[in-house]
Symmetry: C2
Subunit: 179 residues, 2 copies
Amino acid sequence: MQHFWVHGFHASSMDDLVRATGVSRHGIYTTFGGKKALFLACFERYQRRVVTPAFDVVEQPGADLQSVATYFETQITNGAAAGFPGPGCFVANSATEVAPSDADVMALVTHHNDRLRQGFARALVQSAPEFDHDRARDLVEMMVIFTNGLWTMSRSVDDAGVLRRAVSDFLRLITEHTT
Amino acid sequence: MQHFWVHGFHASSMDDLVRATGVSRHGIYTTFGGKKALFLACFERYQRRVVTPAFDVVEQPGADLQSVATYFETQITNGAAAGFPGPGCFVANSATEVAPSDADVMALVTHHNDRLRQGFARALVQSAPEFDHDRARDLVEMMVIFTNGLWTMSRSVDDAGVLRRAVSDFLRLITEHTT
DNA sequence: CCGATAGCAGAATGATCATTCTGACACAAG
DNA sequence: CTTGTGTCAGAATGATCATTCTGCTATCGG
């Protein structure tokens, strides 16, 4: 998963993956079936082991915009721990590299973005119950777009502080707008 | 350029490029030197032929936040013309796929983002001259992040209207914040 | 100890890749 | 016409790729 995360699908050879995992070629093929199937399994593992723990705070009942702030901060801290520029987000990387030419990956990416939308939407109505549905939906889309931009930028920006300040400003804008 | 734009670097074979351009293998190698050099040339052509015309409105003297709105609208209209999900942005695609493992591409990506920062910054101080330097810089970073997110999302979202409404909301938030 | 299962390294295979080379054709200048 | 330059299609090359196959080894229940 780590290797696909950092290098993407096409730049990861089976030799690389054998080296990185310590698992034999034979083991990979009998267990997963092939490179693409292994990639999909890694994608799902990423969601289970990386996305879910970080996004949990937003998916809890009663989560509000402060929970979203915590989520963003966790993301940046995780990224900074491994040094910048970081690997970004497995999902966002796949969305640009593989999703347009692979329906299976596209479905997983769409599902992931829907998950973000749902979490952000619940946090938003918790913080601003007076918003009508359409208005909230557009704000949520904006938050999803910003989240994806954060991941893209983290692949080429070498200072986590820059991203952290921008996130803090972004949430301040939304908070101002909802109060 | 179009082929690299849509399929990225690794998924474009020289055969594909010969087919797509109508130029012979020999011609490509004698003119550019190789696949990587051709990619860099396409990157620069993209900046000249796609980025510059669209971003021009922001780089004009006297450009303000309204100019930024025009820029975003142009981007979405261009993307929607070719149908969704679209090819996104050559630069943003390269930022996730190739920049982390190639210093030349990384330099071009960084330069491109600096260009966005500079343009957004001038538009922002035009609209809100009272902002201090630090505050404006963080807002500008937020706008760059959002722009990159827009491109990433346009590779997996099939409805331009969703993006258009999110952009309009984003600019409304910034405008509210600066007035 | 024995037999069986499982996992391993690494070779073999066939496809695809980037790159280079060959020979033919078109056209412009002398 | 001739010579030279440029471009072309396509073959040849050598590397790398995903995938499959072949033995070897280790472990474990009896």
